[in-house]
Chain length 452, copies 2
Amino acid sequence: MTDRYASFVQSGAGRALVKRLGLPDPPRLRRHTPGDPLVPGPVLLGASTGGRLAEPVGKALTAAGVELVDPAAATDATARFAALVYDASGITDSTGLRQLYDFFHPQARALLPSGRVIVLGTPPAECGSPREATAQRALEGLTRSIGKEFGRGVTAQLVYVTRDGDAGTPVSLESTLRFLLSGRSAYVSGQVIRVGAGTAAAPADWDRPLDGQVVLVTGAARGIGAALARVLARDGASVVALDIPAAGDELAAVANEIGGSAVQLDLTAPDAPTRLAEHLASRHGRVDVVVHNAGITRDKTLGRMDADRWDSVIDVNLSSQERINDVLLERGLIPAGGRIVSVSSIAGIAGNRGQTNYATSKAGVIGLVDSLSPVLRERGISLNAVAPGFIETRLTARIPLMIREAGRRMNSMAQGGLPVDVAETIGWLSWPASGAVSGNVVRVCGQSLLGA
Amino acid sequence: MTDRYASFVQSGAGRALVKRLGLPDPPRLRRHTPGDPLVPGPVLLGASTGGRLAEPVGKALTAAGVELVDPAAATDATARFAALVYDASGITDSTGLRQLYDFFHPQARALLPSGRVIVLGTPPAECGSPREATAQRALEGLTRSIGKEFGRGVTAQLVYVTRDGDAGTPVSLESTLRFLLSGRSAYVSGQVIRVGAGTAAAPADWDRPLDGQVVLVTGAARGIGAALARVLARDGASVVALDIPAAGDELAAVANEIGGSAVQLDLTAPDAPTRLAEHLASRHGRVDVVVHNAGITRDKTLGRMDADRWDSVIDVNLSSQERINDVLLERGLIPAGGRIVSVSSIAGIAGNRGQTNYATSKAGVIGLVDSLSPVLRERGISLNAVAPGFIETRLTARIPLMIREAGRRMNSMAQGGLPVDVAETIGWLSWPASGAVSGNVVRVCGQSLLGA
């Protein structure tokens, strides 16, 4: 669970050696602590001609207390920024892509460590012409390349903002901008995030964005689930921590630590969904946020895999989520404004040797998000997934050294992520303020090279 | 341009050493030679309960002279197959995914070298319920994992077949099945291919699927473009080979070799589209297939990149394609049944350090396919792209050894592809028989680990 190489590199002696030898240079990532300012410096906000998003983005950032700088005023070549934010929604043709170069080229070295690049555009499918859709789709090549190029913990994202309804307002954008600018998104890079229409409610206190929310976390006894329970409780939620009876002691410890409640339940039991629904109804009357984090691996190549390994992985990682969603939704226990977040995996995106069962289940989670989120949107409920990459846990600590090192370094951060990085991302998707964010699969992978 | 390691491994002495040391083991891939039988052995064809595709697939394969075996009859554990083909369209729920295990587990070691796995399903967006869409989307995790697991040159693909109109008929499926089963798709693996509605015409001779077609190939003087001109001419096309005047001698040599014509033209010149249109109109009266293969790289990190590097790459790789398409379409030079194929790149999917310009242009090509293909479908014209991974050319031969070796080996084939592999894939997308295939971006990358 410790990355000794990163610790060494981040020491003074290590730095010098690593630079001399050209070795991977994992930076110390800026992470979130309650009370932190949103960004450690000013933000440069630029816009393409005719862009519609710079104004609401500017309002949202000003409301968040960010110092904004206009590119026309950024004449001091020594100025350093916490973020470069660019409204590309005005680009309607590939020849207009030149405006990206004009904004980013002079500022390519102006970012502070763990700086942020955010490009905003219009979803290609909503564009008025193939030329515009082509140019808007091209933005993805830019942001993914910047993410791989800038280094020093800098992240780069593309945010597509719908033109529909009341979308693109400061309040619908603010949760996503705050997440991406803050240390909460330390290990999220190279992502395409879609902000749609949907009701978003700003919290009274952005340090407690889950105040008063009842949140169910499955698989909460250890690893990512335990980190998740802690982050969500820190952010104000009443956490219902669930795990299998065999993990009861660890589960109780987590629940006690955060002042939450513990539920011991095997989610694959036929009566699990109704028992869970009855528990939530009787104790809380509702559940505002459901986080399907419970998951297992039973790795074998397909020829050597027994049927039980196949069945159990599909059932725990996918089918049980479907059954639970159905019962909770049928009984009206997830109110309007509710959130469902599932945990997928890079293996579900890219496939993996020895994981036909796991990758199938995690690809299914992506299908669940794609297909169910439009249905739930009509009920005011959002549905998203996160797809973790290499995260430092007890499981990854058991991987042989060389393979572990490859997994750790093959991403834009040159290090593994921490469970808290996945937890912060799920947190953002859970906030009442994130109502305009649905149907996304967000990788928490430091922009891993692996993909589809 | 030669992979000496692969040659060594494929020799007797090399094989033994490589096995002992656990080194990468690049197999000799089965490639296409005219007159070859489609597959070097029988094909096992299975179906999920209620699947709608096994019947048309069976008819198409029988028409193609393939010997089909039914799983119920496949009791001989020593039997070896050229392909495992499975109709998964009957799977309507995640619990039904077990049928995949039941088909593939017993046969996981039954494939011949360079064998084929093809799973067919229904596009998730067309499914009748979220449960069905989830299960159909899960298929992607299976096929991508099989591609990474089976080795020995085996490829694995997922083919989504629309339910619309007269789709899913033997004739609409046959070109894609033939491509995937044959050696033409040697370096295509881990792909998701969509077969939609659309008119497809079977050729008189499947060894000359482009007979009588007028095909324009840009960037035809060398590398992938020259291989492309040769493959398309071999398959019966009249090739119009285009390149810049500075490459005139090489271009003339290619054109002479294949009995095609040569056009020297700088595609970025303002009058290039009209000059090209006039040439095609006067010489041929039409152009059935346009292959936008011309492309350049001008690599630099964004901070060190001058504006000319940005502009020239965007213009050659993206904007000039848009201008040419517009003029050829406006003048009606691409008839119904026409095909446009663009060349994207893995860099356009995943982004790349030092290639913000190139990746932006190649991501734009994907946007072009996504946005323009529905418009062209109404005119009976298909539009697709290929995205090459590591292909052995003069350019890759100049990459430093260690980086070149990493690029070569980090894919399911453990070797780089050849220009002919890209050419064969573009060929398939160009056939009159492939009218049901539009809007696809097909990677030719041996299932490279790199992705988004």
